[in-house]
């Protein structure tokens, strides 16, 4: 190799490595990763034990990866390389399909389904077995369900539905598969869009013998922007922020939402105070253990209880139009023994409404 090219290559290589080292050393370190929703690692502690068993160096490597300068840029480089050059659909288990970022749920997690089933059965045994409540169950498809027709290796959703339905004795299963499309979900997030949920709400309400929701034209649409969902940063694909559209008007403006955790009344939508990192929290205040939506304009005395996850927050206001009250219980935040403090189960419609994503990862349900 000739001298000048050799010098150029030698210096370039050494400079790149040294630049990386110096920036890593001098740049300020973040403590939390918004993309991953986790605290970033701290410098490893030095001790004879951690040195001898190799923990110090492996933790140092993790620390360097967590705090590497331009970490999100490098993650995006990798995602783009895999998608555009290697023509791979997946990056860290996410695919970009027709502009929507989708996490592939490839297999039914039977252990997780079994765990969730035990939790629901326990609720059934404690509160519902000897009650006169009418029981219903529905699984909300995750976005990858809509890829099965495209040849992607996704879980057998019907299998999940069957396992879920079997775990709640006496419940009538309501299928939402035909009421939803991929467009009914946010492009950058796992959740469904409230402004597109009227068909799904209608399916649930009619199956439970309640009145269908009002026509779409009866509602007004408000917008919260910009909204970037959790999948965007996790997948690391380049993305455009989107917006959350939510329905107002008619009975929705008079709905009263009681938060039993704090004994306060909270708004149905709270765009001013929602966490911008998780803007989906604008629906019913986000993570809440026990809420009751009361509809003073209800033309019925029927009451609905929904055991739910975060997907329930956006559809509950649409269901509330056909009930006197809708009680929302999130078993991730409340132990089932505490439920009796707030309510009795008698003559209600009880709906177990869970997303496929939660059922496949149900470790958050309180035992």
């Amino acid at each position: 190799m000739k001298k000048i090219p050799s010098i150029l290559i030698s210096i370039l290589f050494t400079l790149i490595l040294m630049l990386g080292s110096i920036l890593l050393l001098i740049l300020p370190k973040e403590t939390y990763s918004e993309a991953e929703r986790r605290p970033l690692s701290t410098p490893p502690s030095v001790s004879l034990d951690t040195l001898l068993d190799g923990r110090f160096f492996s933790e140092l490597d993790t620390y360097m990866a967590d705090h590497f300068p331009g970490r999100e840029f490098f993650r995006m480089m990798k995602a783009v390389w895999q998608k555009d050059v290697l023509k791979e659909w997946e990056n860290n288990g996410y695919v970009l399909f027709e502009g929507s970022i989708i996490k592939l749920e490839k297999q039914v997690n039977t252990a997780s389904l079994a765990y969730a089933g035990e939790r629901f059965q326990a609720v059934y045994e404690q509160y519902l077995k000897n009650s006169d409540c009418r029981l219903y169950a529905a699984v909300i498809p995750d976005k990858s369900f809509f890829l099965s027709a495209e040849g992607f290796p996704v879980m057998d959703f019907s299998d999940m539905e069957n396992r879920f339905a079997d775990s709640i004795p006496g419940a009538e299963y309501i299928s939402l598969k035909d009421s939803l499309t991929l467009e009914d979900y946010y492009r950058t997030d796992s959740h469904w869009r409230q402004d597109r949920l009227l068909p799904a709400a209608e399916t649930l309400l009619l199956a439970m013998g309640a009145a269908a929701p009002e026509e779409e034209s009866a509602f007004q649409i408000e917008t919260y922007a910009p909204f970037t969902g959790v999948y965007a940063k996790q997948a690391a694909f380049p993305y455009e922020p989107e917006s959350i559209q939510y329905l107002t008007g008619t009975y929705l403006d008079q709905l009263e939402v009681r938060d039993y955790d704090t004994s306060t009344v909270i708004p149905v939508y709270d765009p001013e105070n929602c966490d911008p990192r998780d803007a989906y929290t604008l629906f019913l205040g986000g993570a809440k253990a026990f809420l009751r939506l009361e509809n003073p304009n209800a033309k019925t005395d029927r009451n609905l209880v929904v055991f739910r996850d975060s997907f329930g927050s956006s559809i509950a206001p649409l269901l509330a139009g056909s009930y006197r009250s809708v009680t929302l219980i999130d078993l991730r935040y409340i132990s089932r023994d505490f439920i009796r403090r707030y309510m009795r189960f008698t003559n209600q419609d009880v709906l177990f409404l869970y997303s496929a994503t939660l059922l496949n990862n149900s470790q958050g349900l309180i035992e």
């Binding site: 290589f13 490595l17 490597d61 990866a65 490098f74 023509k87």
Partner: protein, 563 residues
């Protein structure tokens, strides 16, 4: 610590390079030794002391066996008598010996030398056996005996023990044989054994390949930049190719609807993965060696284009093949003592080669499978017209030309095996291996040799199934998928489409085609300019992408956070 880690790339390597550049020549070995010990300590912790013990033991054994270099002088004199040593070298050796003889007349008797060597080998192989194979022995005895006869120790394997043990053994045996004098400088010897570029993944470097460089070496931008490019090639092979292939294999193994096409693609991808992973590490070792002024011998030479199993093993893990040939196969008699012993020797060597790769019977079976094919090839070679080439080579895939020469491995003149590795050119400048004249594989047109190439490839794909799976059940399951599963499934289609670029690119990358294209580019003046631009782009792109993959490796989302 591994090369493909941020810790190595952005902390250890730049710090070591910087200190090495600043260090006066006198202290460079000491710096390399210190860096190597830190490198090893970072990956192996307390096992550092085991390696230091092995270094000290080998050094002392070498000094003991090389006392007054009697053996060395005797061997040299014998060679001189046979006219095999250059006069100048012989004179130097004689004067060296004469000077030492003036100091002392003490020399070890042959019996003491043998005992010393035997004790050393017992300890070195004993340590290797204890740390690597104790559990295999215990598990096997328990399985055969049908109970808990021996309790497995579950020891963590000291990283690189197979490599540094073999380097130490080759050094002590060579000193015993009088191939070269013992190293007197402990720092130099410890630097040789622990040299971090080749410490944990080879190649197995013989002492005589680097002994001159340990004493004095030249540093130049040409060498450094060649090393940098070679290191970057290896890094890219490991992180951007091998790891992707491994991800494909993992995904393919987990499909719910297996198909024969996918199972074959998976097994082929696994072979490619091992090749890119291992040769990538070797490239990185050779490249780093160049950066520090050493010429580490080549370890891979496009093995997947081989036209015979023998050729495959001349191109695959070259340093290990030659080690077993020189220190096991030939001392056992090679092919000189009849057909039965020849086959026995081959099978022993290949069984050991397999076990060297891992403490599991699947590895032994993997090695033995190659051994059986080599025996078959040797037999067929005798009978076919192709066998009319050097008959000893036809019989003996591991040996040299004739029995007299095989007595001293260093003197053999097999052009494919015996060329001084140090004399080999940089791989970027090397002649295309396809252009080399191998009388068996290269005299026929491609149309005639293609079936043989395909046969070798298919054999390698099948044999590497043993290498991959730790249990016979899993391996047989994979064979079952390859031969009895439905031809096609939708899940297979998804996976194959998802990885088609990686699979095709790696298949092309395993041949010398890119190398030939590079040679063609650099033939003209404009091409050389272009090659500089391409080299710079390649370097930057690979470093960015590798960093991207390593940074993303820590991606660990808390997916189901509590909203």
């Amino acid at each position: 610590m591994v090369f493909s880690s941020l810790l190595f790339l952005y902390l250890f390597l730049p710090a070591t390079l910087l200190l090495y550049i600043l260090m006066p020549d006198k202290g460079k070995n000491l710096l390399l030794l210190a860096a190597s010990l830190v490198f090893y300590f970072a990956g192996s912790g307390r096992y550092l002391f085991l390696m230091l013990g092995m270094i000290l033991l080998s050094y002392l054994a070498g000094r003991w066996l090389g006392q007054e270099d009697r053996g060395f002088s005797a061997a040299k004199e014998e060679k001189e008598d046979r006219g095999l040593v250059a006069t100048k070298e012989a004179q130097e050796d004689r004067s060296l010996v004469a000077a030492k003889d003036a100091k002392s007349d003490v020399a070890l008797s042959p019996q003491y030398r043998k005992i010393t060597l035997a004790v050393f080998l017992l300890i070195a192989l004993g340590l290797l056996g204890f740390f690597k194979y104790a559990d295999l022995v215990a598990d096997t005895i328990n399985a055969v005996g049908g109970g808990k006869i021996l309790r497995p120790l579950h020891l963590a394997l000291p990283i690189g023990i197979s490599f540094y043990s073999f380097q130490c053994i080759s050094y002590v045996v060579d000193v015993y044989r009088g191939t070269y004098p013992a190293e007197r400088n402990l720092i130099r010897f410890a630097t040789y054994v622990s040299f971090f570029p080749q410490l944990i993944a080879g190649p197995i470097v013989r002492y005589d390949a680097v002994k001159d460089a340990l004493k004095a070496r030249k540093h130049s931008f040409e060498n450094y930049s060649a090393g940098v490019i070679r290191f970057t090639i290896g890094l890219g092979k490991k992180v951007l190719v091998a790891d992707r292939l491994f991800a494909f294999c993992t995904a393919a193994a987990a499909v719910r609807e297996p198909s024969a096409v996918l199972a074959w693609a998976e097994s082929a991808a696994y072979l490619l993965y091992v090749y890119f992973d291992f040769s990538g590490y070797s490239d990185m070792a050779i490249g780093l060696g160049k950066c520090f002024g050493f010429d580490i011998p080549e370890n891979f030479n496009y093995p997947l284009i081989s036209g015979s199993i023998r050729e495959f093993w001349r191109r695959w893990h070259i340093s290990l093949g030659s080690w077993f040939r020189d220190y096991v196969y030939i001392p056992m008699g090679g092919s000189r003592e009849g057909r039965v012993r020849h086959i026995r020797n081959l099978l022993i060597v290949w069984g050991l080669t397999g076990l060297w790769h891992g403490a599991g019977w699947n590895f032994a079976l993997w090695g033995l499978s190659f051994g059986v094919l080599l025996c078959l090839e040797a037999s067929l070679g005798e009978k076919s017209s192709l066998g009319s080439r050097d008959s000893m080579e036809g019989k003996d895939p591991m040996a040299g030309k004739n029995s007299r020469e095989r007595k001293d491995p260093l003197e053999r003149k097999d052009p494919l095996e015996r060329k001084d590795p140090l004399e080999r050119k940089d791989p970027l400048e090397r002649k295309d291996p396809l252009e080399r004249k191998d009388p068996l594989e290269r005299t026929n047109p491609l149309g005639e040799t293609l079936p043989r190439h395909l046969g070798v490839l298919i054999a390698a794909i099948l044999i590497f199934v043993w290498f991959r799976f730790p249990s016979f059940e899993l391996a047989l399951n994979q064979f079952g998928k390859m031969f009895t599963a439905p031809l096609w499934s939708s899940e297979s289609a998804y996976l194959l489409k998802n990885s088609v670029v990686t699979l095709l690119a790696s298949a092309i990358g395993a041949t010398p085609l890119l190398h030939k294209a590079w040679d063609a580019i650099t033939k003209t003046r404009a091409g050389r300019m272009l090659s500089l631009v391409l080299s710079v782009c390649f370097l930057v792109a690979v470093l960015i992408l590798v960093t991207a993959y390593l940074v993303d490796g820590s991606f660990s989302p808390f997916l189901y956070f509590r909203f």
